[in-house]
Structures are given as C-alpha cells and as structure tokens.
C-alpha cells in the first residue's frame, strides 16, 4: 500500500481529478505492493462520496498483471538458500561430507575445508593434516582445477605467445609451470601445461580463473591469430583429480599403479598414461609428478566416473603409511610455507612476475602477451611492492588483513609499507607466518617491522624474510 490518505483523495477530487484513472495517477492510489486489492475500494468509495454518486458509477482503473497480489517468494522460486546459485560437486564430494568435512565455496565449487576428528576443532584438524603431509603422506581433491586440452600443429607457438616462458622445448611426457600476463604486463593466471602427445597438450588453470583463461584463449585464436591451427576444449568435468604429497607418496602410489614412478623413471615434472587398480577394477588414468605443497608429490587424474574409486583405492594403499586426506585449509598452509602464490591473494591484479619473485620466468628472447608493457618505468622502479615472508615475533598471532608499518605509534595516517596477503599457523615451522607484499621487500630481508590491524586493535612485530619457510632449495621435490 502506498501512503495515500482519505484527505489526499478528497483533495484530488476537489482539484478536478475526478476520473479514477486521473485519481490513480495523481495520488498513486492502488500502485503499492497490494496492487489496490485492499486500498482501491476504500479510495473509490471516498471519491464516490465526494462526487455524490454510487460507488459502481465511479468505475475501476484498467487491470494489469499480476491481477492477484503475488508474494515475493514466487519470483525467486527455488533459487533460495542452497539453490541461490548453482553448486559444483566433485566426484568425491559424498566421501568428503561423509567424513564430516565442512564445504567451502571456491567459485561455484564446493571444497572440503578440513576433516575434523572427534573432539578436534577445524584449526587443529588442518594443522594435523598439514603436518602429516610433510612427515608422512596426504591426499587432497584437486578436481576443481581448470583443465583445458589443446591440440593442433601450432600449440607450442600458441603457448609461447600466451605464457611468459618457453614451450617449444617441452618434450612429450613432460610438464612445465607457466605464468600468463594480461596485456598490461600484470600477472593474469598461473598453472601447468603438460605435453601428452606430439600435438596434444593439457593446461591446468586456477580453479577460479578457468573460465576467464578459456575465454581469453578462444578470443585470441578467433580474433588475433586465426592462422594458428590450435583447437581447445575444457576437460575440467572429464577428470577427477587428486594430489598425493609427502615423503611416502611414491610408495603409496606405486602400490596401485602399473607404471614405474621411481625417481629415475619418472622425475619431477613428468606425465604419463597409467592404469590404476581400484575396487572397480583397472581404471585408465594420467599420472603427473608436480607439487603445490613443496613435497615430493603426484597428481592422479581418472575419468570422473571413477573418481571415488580412485580416491578410496589410494587411501587404502596409503593406510599402512599413515595417509590422511587434507582440505583446502591445510593446502593453503602448505603453499604459504613454500611461498607459492595464489592468484587473487598475492597476484592481486597489480603485481608483475618480478614483484612475485618470478621475473626469471619472463623469457628475454621471445615475445609474449604483456611483455612490451613490462618496460613501463613504474613497473621497473626500485620501489615496487615485492613478495616477502613474514614471521610473527613474541609468540603473537599474525593479525588478519594487516598492513605493514615501520612504527605502530606513528600519527595517522601511518605510512603503509605493504600488507599481509595470506597467513597461517605453520605447524611445520611452529610459528604464525604470512606472505605479504612489501615496499622494496627483497631489500628488507632481516628487518623487523610491525603488522598492524587498527580495526582489530592488533599490532605484532614481524620479521621480514624470503617468501619460503620450508626446504628453500626445493630438494624434497626431487627425492
């Protein structure tokens, strides 16, 4: 109902708005959420009284849909609560929820946060899982990573143009980490690409950027380089994937695989077809040796219809080695300990490869998208914010969303030297640690600064160091 009063109606009538259509438009009578179902008859009666005519003689305004009032709930229908937006579930989702894992959103995907045991908090569970992956072996569902297959004569040339590093030297059966830039030189996405056969490649993208990267590649092939013979398709939905990481990863997987994955036969950054023994029988899959955790690690991909069988087969094989599943929280801890970036947190739309300590991935001998604009003076300056590792001192907890300052007592506005991008308790380093972007960060290793969060009333002394807290030489990857 609109707030039309009896006085308003009498005033309208006195001013000459004596047709019901005029009355409606002058006073807004009948245009409220009730669409006149309660207010109109009263209003028409008042007009009739003023005009000294019977009510029916006043008439009614033209009816429009919805004729009957409609509750707001009819319009959203089922699109409320869990139906508010679509959800994407991996082939292993029922297993995760069966273990009591809380699901968290990653784009539309639902991923298990952690697997708390009886009496354990999520924090304790994630720390146990992260510790176990470094000391024994862990398994994590990575089905949600974007997966794009490329085929055609010119794939290597195409990859050379869209990635900062070189791809024409990648042999069949090998994988490589790659960095993509936007046209302005800022980091767009990272991932790996594997050469499955002479003219057949598999690219992985971050979970959240999969659609953006696919669209970018389609656009480039159709608009800029129609002469390149490259065909693309998304295979994210085709493959269920798990990463198996830790000192016992090889022993566990060797029990269920038909191929030799010894260090000599299957070194770091290899890919190969394999058969996996599961409760459903033999399943054909793809085996990769790559690592986001920093441990000796493998990824196993099987057709999504066999995802659960693969998952349970690896868990059964790993039981004697103390295998534990780990969720996104422990996955984050493991990668923060290693200083592996995440697009969104560290690569925040303002950072170059150089800022992230990956300048050596920008090949000097070839062109790629974004490279020309990397020469802008502002991107080459010495005062860039650069990726660093921060360790909280004095036994303090690293504050969330903190800015980094030299003096926490300086008068506002306190000059900001940088900010924390990701943080965690490191069960392996036994300290609160963080990654951050810091003004001239690489020149500040060894300095003590302050991470402050005025909103939370938090101020913590932090020590600046390189963005890697575990195995800085990367020896664990190659054992």
């Amino acid at each position: 109902m609109t707030d039309v009063t009896a006085a308003d109606i009498r005033l309208a009538a006195r001013e000459g708005y004596q047709s019901v259509e005029h009355l409606k438009r002058y006073t807004t009578l009948g245009t409220g959420p009730d669409q006149g179902k309660t207010g109109n008859v009263l209003g028409l009666a008042l007009l009739a009284e003023h005009l000294a005519t019977p009510i029916p003689a006043v008439g009614t305004t033209t009816f429009r849909a919805p004729y009957s009032p409609v509750t707001l709930g009819v319009f959203p229908g089922h699109a409320v609560g869990a139906g508010l937006e679509p959800m994407r579930l991996t082939a292993m989702n029922d297993w995760h929820t069966g273990q009591g894992a809380r699901l968290i959103n990653t784009g539309l995907w639902k991923r298990p946060h952690s697997y708390p045991r009886a009496g354990e908090s999520e924090f304790q569970a994630a720390n146990r899982e992260a510790k176990n992956a470094r000391t024994r072996v862990g398994i994590v569902d990575v089905s949600t990573l974007g997966k794009i297959e490329l085929q055609g004569r010119d794939v290597a040339e195409f990859l050379n143009r869209i990635y900062t590093n070189r791809w024409d030297t990648l042999a069949v059966g090998r994988c490589r980490y790659g960095l993509m830039l936007r046209e302005d030189g800022i980091v767009l996405d990272d991932g790996t690409t594997s050469r499955l056969a002479a003219t057949h490649y598999l690219m992985t993208t971050t979970t959240v950027n999969a659609v953006k990267v696919m669209q970018q590649m389609e656009l480039l092939l159709q608009r800029d380089w129609p002469d390149l013979e490259v065909f693309l398709t998304s295979v994210t939905e085709q493959w269920a994937a798990a990463a198996v990481a830790g000192p016992h990863a090889r022993e566990v997987l060797q029990k269920v695989l038909d191929i030799d994955i010894s260090n000599a036969a299957f070194p770091f950054l290899c890919v190969g077809d394999c058969m996996l023994r599961t409760a459903n029988g033999q399943v054909q899959g793809r085996q990769f040796r790559m690592s986001f955790s920093g441990e000796n690690a493998y990824e196993i991909h099987v057709p999504a219809t066999h995802g659960l069988a693969m998952w349970t087969a690896v868990l059964a094989a790993g039981e004697a080695y103390g295998i534990m599943p780990y969720g996104t929280e422990a996955m984050g801890t493991l990668r923060i300990e290693k200083g592996h970036i995440v697009v969104g947190a560290e690569a925040d739309g303002r950072t170059t490869a150089g800022d992230l300590g990956m300048g050596q991935l920008v090949n000097g001998a070839k062109w790629c998208i974004g490279k020309p604009l990397l020469d802008r003076p502002a991107l080459r300056g010495a005062d860039r914010w650069q990726l660093v590792g921060l360790t909280a001192l004095d036994g303090s907890e690293m504050p969330r969303a903190a800015k980094v300052v030299a003096d926490p007592d300086a008068p506002a506005p306190n000059p900001m030297l940088g900010h924390v991008t990701s943080l965690c308790w490191s069960p392996n380093h036994e300290a609160w640690i963080a990654l951050g972007l810091l003004h001239n960060g690489r020149g500040r290793h060894g300095e003590t600064l302050w991470a402050v969060s005025p909103l939370a009333g938090a101020r913590v002394r932090v020590k600046v160091g390189p963005p890697c807290f575990i195995d800085p030489e990367g020896e664990r990857l190659r054992v």
């Binding site: 679509p86 579930l89 994210t236 999504a304």
Partner: protein, 203 residues
C-alpha cells in the same frame, strides 16, 4: 533396480502430481568425443568419414544420427559425438589415441570427454512446458524442430538441449552440476506429475 547415480534421492517411480505426464530418465553414453575441424578441409572430412562413418551436420544447431551414433553441432568447427557404447573391438568408437593422431595430422582434433557430462531424457506431453519454465529457448517446433540441438540454460546451469522427437528431449549438463540440475528438473516437473525411469544407455 539400481539406484540412479546422478539423481540425488529420487528413486525410480512416480512423483509429484497424481497423473504422470512426463518421464525423466538418466541416459548414459559409452563414448562422448568432441570433434573439431574445418569442413572446408577435404582431408579432415575424409578422415571423419573413414574413421567414424558419420556425416557431420553443417547447419547450425542440427543433429545427424546413425543407428549407433549421434553427432551434435556445437559450433562452426565443433561437434559432439555420442555413442551408447562400443560393442566390439572393431567398433569405430575404440582406440582413441590413434584416431586423435590421425585427425591431428589432417588439421583436426578429437577430445575425450566421455565422463564429462550427465544427461537426462525428458519425454511426455508436457515436456516443453517443463523445459520452458527454466530454459529461454523458443521451443516451438517451427523454431526448434526434432533433430535440433542448442546450447542454452536450464535455470542457472549451462545445458545442451537436443530434441529427438516432438515430445522427446535429451538434456546434457556438466557432471559437477548433476545434483542441482536434477533438483531443478524435479521441481519444474512436480506440478505435472512425473515418473522416473531407471537409467539406460542412450538408444
């Protein structure tokens, strides 16, 4: 009777309004391959003909069928090959790597996506009413006759819709959305009454 894999908690049987005017059935495929290439390239066409013995539909959003396979147009250079199941070693729908290599060598491509989708067959007199409640396509037979396919939406979810006969549609969606799209199909069908049939290979 085996429980459908991708249909949440709804088991085979009648649901919703008392008079069933719709059947919903999960359909499975032995092989789903994405074929890409240029029909202006004779070597590509010859390879497709000799490898699969199918005719590629070239009209936008059209489908060709053989007794064993269906070919759905996805784009000017892209098709989806659907097969119930390779019956024998001699079937054209085996030995993916050799077929991929052969197509790559003539400027085409073949991608293995057999596990990437789930599909449901929707049939019955009110099937277009149910689909229209959540799909923006004009489903009038004049615009979308039998033998048509189109990539569209059902609710919020991307789908590939294929009309096999006036009252007989197959709806394909990415596997990770199976739970949601099944809920949406049941919700849209409830007022008409629907019967869930046990899953079957595409026929």
């Amino acid at each position: 009777m085996s429980k459908p894999k991708n249909t949440g908690t709804v088991l085979p049987g009648k649901n919703g309004a008392a008079t069933s005017r719709l059947t919903l059935q999960e359909v499975t495929f032995g092989v789903t391959w994405n074929l890409q290439g240029d029909v202006a390239n004779p070597a590509f066409l010859e390879e497709v003909r000799s490898s699969f013995d199918v005719t590629l539909p070239t009209a936008a959003n059209s489908v060709t069928e053989t007794p064993h396979a269906a070919v759905l147009w996805l784009g000017p250079k892209s098709w989806l090959l659907l097969v119930g199941g390779p019956e024998s070693r001699e079937s054209p729908w085996t030995n993916f790597p050799a077929k991929r290599d052969a197509l790559n060598s003539v400027g085409g491509a073949l991608f293995e996506v057999s596990a990437g989708r789930v599909a449901w067959r929707l049939a019955g007199p009110c099937v277009t009413t149910v689909l229209a409640s959540a799909c923006p396509l004009d489903l009038h037979p004049r615009e979308f006759p039998p033998g048509s396919c189109a990539q569209s939406l059902f609710g919020h979810i991307s789908t590939l819709l294929w009309r096999r006969a006036e009252d007989d549609f197959t709806l394909l969606a990415a596997r990770s959305f199976a739970h949601d799209i099944w809920s949406a199909l049941c919700a849209a069908s409830a007022q008409h009454g629907y019967e869930v049939l046990p899953p079957a290979p595409i026929g």
